[in-house]
Symmetry: D3
Subunit: 242 residues, 6 copies
C-alpha cells in the first residue's frame, strides 16, 4: 500500500526544518527562538529571587512557564487575551504542560530559593506551538542555569537531563510526525509527546479528534516521537554548545 | 518479588467500589451520581435549544461540560471559584477533557441544533474526580439522549458507543489502577485513560510526577486501564438498564 | 371563609418534611444536609486558624458563610457563577444573611482567633434555600464548635443559643408557612425570619412582591414563623443529640 | 424611667432635618438631592428606550436602580468600586432594595417598553444612605414620569402611590428614629422600613446587631417608622409641588 | 476678518465663570468644588499613612489621583464603571494626568512617608472636566498640606508652586479658550495645558481631531493657555486665602 | 558651552539606527518590524469586515490599535497583562494614541465598512516603543490598504498622508532626540510628537518629569521632532517602495 502524500510533502517520519537560535531576547537570563517550519516561538527565561508563597523557607526553587500568542501570529487574527481580560483554557493548559515538562528534568533542591519563569510567546503559529515552546524553553532554561552557575548563585547543576517535545498524529490513517496547521486540522488523532534526552517519557497526551483509535496506533505514534525527540535533543545540544 | 501493599489495601488491578446512581438530580434531563470509593461526582445533563454562536444554522448539535468542586469536598477546604472570580487552569483542563471525551462517542449531526451541557460537580474528592466525571457524565448524557428520543426531538441514536475513564499510576514502581488521593499524592507517574466500550482509545494523558518513566511502564498502565474501563462499561450498562 | 388550597396541599401553618442529616460531608469539621421537602442544602463548616486581616491580634474569632447553587439544582439550569466570573447580588445577599444569623448566636470572644467558614451549597432548589441554609448551617457550626472543644482549641461554649430560619408569604391573601418554589413564584409577599431557639428575632426580611401589604399581615406572618422556627429548633436538637 | 439622650440630641421619634431638592442634576429627566441631616444622596432618573432582554416585546417597562458612594463621602475614605473592579455585596443589596421599593408603586404596564434607571450617588454619608436614596429616588422617578407624560411617551399615570423609607434602631435599649452614623454604629438592632404614602409596607429589614430582640421591639420600631414615613411623604409632596 | 461667534457667546480668550469652593466635602482633609461654567468637579484629598509598596522605607511620600463621573453627570447617561467592572482607558488616562500634574509641584521628600489621594468626581460634565479636576485638585491638595503642617505631621512646605489646567482648541479655525461640551464636540483640535503659577509648562497634550494642524496653531493655543492659567492661579490664591 | 555627552554617544539631534522591515508577519494583511536602535516593535494589520457596533450601517470604516509588550522585552521582566487579567493604564493610553494617530491620516469614508486593527507588540524595549509603534504601524496600515485596493475591496486611496512619531526630551538641560531607556529614565522632560509627512502636528504630549519647563524648551523639542519625523517619513517611503 502506498502512503498518502502529506500536504507538506514531507515523509511520515520527517520533522520540519528545526532551528534553535539562542540569545534572541538579549535582556533575558536565557532565551531561544525556536522555529519548527513556519512556527516560531520565543522562549525567554527570567530569574527571580522570590519563590511562590507556598515554597518559601524550604530551600527549594521553582520553574514555571507562561504562554501567549501574538494576536496576528495566526492565519486569522486571534483576540488578545489581555484585552479580553483572561487567559483561555487552552493557554492555561499549555503553560501548565510546559512548566511540568521542564520541572521533570530539574533538581529544584539544587536551584535553591530561586524561581525561573519561562515566557513562551508565539510569534508565528503554524501548528505545534506547544512542542516548540517546550523544546525552545529547555534551551532558554539551560542558558539561565548556566548563568546562575557562572555568577555563583547556584552551586551544582540544576538540570539532570534535556527535554524536548514533538507532536504526532494520524493523518488519513497514517501516523505522521510534527504536524503543521493544515495537517493538524485534518488529523484523526493528535498527540503530543515530551521525552527526555535519553528517551524516557515525561508527558503523553493523545486525543481522538474524529474517532477513537486502537492501541497499536498509539504505539506507532510513540515510535515516531522517539525518533523525532532524539533529533530535537541533538539540535538542543548543538544550540547550547559545549 | 512481592508487590508493595497499596495504602488502600487493594490489589494493583483492583478498582474501588464503583456505584453509578442514575436520576440523582431529578430536575435534569439526565443525571448520575458516580461514586468511585469515597469520590462522589454528580453529573447532570441539561438540554438547551441554543447551540454556541459558531455552530448556528449548521444543523449540528454540541455537547459540552462544566466542572466544579464544592469547597469542602476536599480534605482541606479549597477556595470557591465563584468567589475568586475565575476558574482555575486545572478546572478548565478537566472540563475540556470531559467535553472531548463525550463528544468522541456522539453523532452531533444526529443531535440536530441542540446543546447538551453536562455539569460535573464534585461532592466528595478522594482522587480520580475527572475519571468519575467522565464515567458518570456518560450515563447522564445517555439518559438525556433517551429523553430526547422519547419526546421525538431527536430521530436517531446520538451515541455511537459508551465511554468511560479510569486513572492509573506508578506507585512505588508498581503500576496500579484507580488511585485514591493518598496513592495519587505519592505516585511517581499519573495517567488518565478514556476508552470506549469496545476498548478504543479516546484520550491518553500520562505525566511523570517525580521522574521520567520508560515506555514499557506506559504499556503496563494501559493494560490496567483496558481491564478497568471494561468493568466500568459494564457498570454503565447496568445503570442504564435496557 | 374557607382557605384556599396550597399547591402543595399543605395546611397554611404546615412545614414541609424537614430532615437534618449531620456528618454528610465527612472531611468537614461539621456538616449537615438540610432537606426542606425537595430543597436540599449541604452545609459544611471549615475551621481556619487565620481570621480576616481587620480582626488580627484582637483575640476574637469570626464566622462567615458562602453560598452557591449547583447549576442544575434548579428546574431550569442556572449559569455557573464560577464560569461567569462573579457572584450575583442575590448570592452575596444570601451569604451575608447566613453569616449575620450565625454570628448572632456566637460568642466570638470565646472562639479565640479562629475563623469558621460555613459553605452552604444547594444540591436541589425548590424554594426556601436560604432558610434551609441557616437552619442546617447552625447544625454544621455546632458540630464544628463541639470538635474545637473536644480537641481543646476552645475552652468555653461558643454558641449562646440555637438559630433557625423559615420563610412565610402571602399566597392568595392567606399567610402560609415555608413556601416551595411554586408557592413562592405566586406569592404576593415574601418574608424570611431568623429566630433564636427561645424565639427572639435575629433577622426579619419582608418584601411586597406584587403590592404593599398592611401591618397586620406582617404580624400574621410572624405568628407562623414563630411556630415554624420552634419546630425547626426541635429538629436541630434532635440532629445534634446530647 | 428617663430615656437616654441620643448622641444627636434628638428625641427618639425625631427625624433629622430633611431636605428634598428637585432638579439638582439638570441633564437628568428627573432628579433630587435628598439630605437627611449630613447625609446627602443625589438621585437622578434616566429614561432609556431599551428594556432588559428578558422583557422585550412584552409591552411592559422596567425601573431599576444603581447605587454608589463617592470615595470620600465617608468619614474615612472608602475604596472606589470602579478601581477595585467590582461592586460590593452591600452595594448590590442596596441597589436591589431601591429598585424593588420603587417598582412596588409603579404600574409597569402603563410605562410601556421604557426603562427608567435611578442612579443614587452618595455625596456625603452620615448614616441612612439607603433610606435617603429610596426617598429621593421616588422624587426623581416621579419627575421623570411627569416628563414622559408631558412629552406624550406615556399615556396614563405610572405611579400608583408614593414611597419613602426610614431607618430605626434600638439604641441603648430605646427605639429611635432615623439613625445617624454615630447612633448606627452603637445600635443593638438596626431596621429599614419602606412604606407607601398611605402607610402600607413595601419592605421590612430588621437585623439584630448585638443580640436578638423580642417581638415587641419590632412593633415599637414599626410605630416610629410609620410616623417618620408619613412625614417623609409630606416632604415628597411639597418637593414635587402640584 | 471677523472671528466666528462661539456657541457660548464668549470671546475666544474668555474663560467660563470659574468658582472654586473650598471645604465642600467636610470629612476630607482638603476639598474643593471646582465649577467651570456648568462643569462641576468635586476634588477631595485623603491623607493616608501608607505609601505604595514600592516606596516603603524610603522616607518619601506620594500623591495620586482617582477620577470618576457620576453616571448622569453627562447629557446622556454614561455606564457606571463600578457596574461594568473596570475603569475605561479615558478614565485611567485622566487620573494619571491629574496625579502627574500635582506631583510636579510637590516636594515628596518634605511630605515624608505619607500618601495623599485626590478623588476627583464629576458631578456635572459640560467639557473640560480634567482641567477643572487639576485646578480644583490643587486647592484640595493645598488644604490637606496645610492640615498636615498644622498638626505637625509635616515640617516644611510640601508644595513648591501652584498648578492649574485649562483646555484650548481650534474651533472653526479660531483658537479658543476653555471649551464647553458643544465647542469641544465641534473642535478641529483639542489641547490641554497644565501650567504652574509662574507659567512654566507641566503637561501639554494636543490632539488633531479632524486634521493635522500647523505649528503656529499650537503657539496660538499656548498663548491662550498662558493667560487662562494665570487667571486660574489667581482664583486658586483667592480660594485658599492667606 | 559644550553639550553634555548622551549615554548613547549620539549627537542631540541624532536618531538611533532606524529599520523598517515590511512583511515580517506573513499572515497579516500588512506588517512591519520597526527597530529604533534596540527597540523592536512588530506592527501587524488585520482587516475585519465588521466595524464596531456604533458605526454599523453608516458606510464608514474604522482603524484601531492594540499594544502589548512581551514580558521579557524589558530589562526587568514585566508581568503579563493577560495573566493579571487587565491592561494597564499605560497600555490603554498608548493604544489610544496609536489609533488616533493613524486615523488622523485616513479617509474612513473611503475605507467603507471595514475595520483595520493594528497590533503593535513590543519584542524588545529600549525606550520609545510608542513612537516606533506609530511609525511602523503606519507602514503596516499602508500595506493593508494597498492589499484592499488590489483586491478591489476599496476603490480610492484611504490614506491621505503618512504619519510618524518620535520622542524628544530634556537631558541634563539639553534637548535631545529619540531617547533610549537610559536617557529616558534620567530626562527632566519627556515628549512624544506625531507628525504627518508634510510636517503638520497630529499629537503633542509633553510631560515635565522632574520640574516644570519654560515654553522655549517646548519649541526646541519641537524643532528636533520636525527634523526627526522628516527622516522617519523618508524611511517609511523607502520601506513601502513605489
Amino acid at each position: 500500500m502506498t502512503e498518502p502524500v502529506r500536504p507538506s510533502g514531507r515523509r511520515p517520519d520527517e520533522l520540519r526544518a528545526v532551528l534553535l537560535e539562542p540569545g534572541w531576547a538579549p535582556y533575558a537570563e536565557g532565551s531561544c527562538l525556536a522555529s519548527f517550519g513556519a512556527t516560531r516561538v520565543l522562549a525567554a527565561a527570567s530569574v527571580e529571587t522570590r519563590v511562590p508563597p507556598w515554597l518559601r523557607g524550604r530551600g527549594r526553587g521553582w520553574i514555571t512557564a507562561e504562554y501567549g500568542m501574538l494576536p496576528r501570529s495566526t492565519h486569522e487574527r486571534t483576540d488578545r487575551e489581555a484585552a479580553r481580560g483572561r487567559q483561555s483554557g487552552r493557554t492555561q493548559e499549555i503553560q501548565r504542560l510546559i512548566g511540568r515538562s521542564l520541572r521533570a528534568v530539574a533538581d529544584l533542591q539544587a536551584l535553591g530559593e530561586i524561581q525561573i519563569r519561562i515566557d513562551c510567546d508565539v510569534l508565528q503559529a503554524d501548528g505545534g506551538t506547544r512542542t516548540a515552546a517546550v523544546t525552545g524553553g529547555y534551551v532558554a532554561l539551560a542558558l539561565a542555569c548556566r548563568h546562575l552557575q557562572r555568577i555563583g548563585a547556584v552551586k551544582k547543576p540544576v538540570l539532570t537531563d534535556s527535554v524536548a517535545a514533538v507532536s504526532c498524529g494520524l493523518w488519513q490513517g497514517t501516523p505522521v510526525l510534527d504536524l503543521d496547521y493544515a495537517e493538524d486540522s485534518a488529523a484523526e488523532a493528535d498527540a503530543n509527546f515530551v521525552l527526555t534526552g535519553p528517551g524516557a517519557l515525561v508527558e503523553v497526551q493523545a486525543t481522538a479528534e474524529k474517532m477513537a483509535f486502537p492501541r497499536d496506533r498509539l504505539d506507532a505514534l510513540l515510535d515516531l516521537a522517539e525518533a523525532g525527540c532524539a533529533r530535537l535533543a541533538e539540535a538542543q545540544r548543538r544550540a547550547l554548545g559545549p
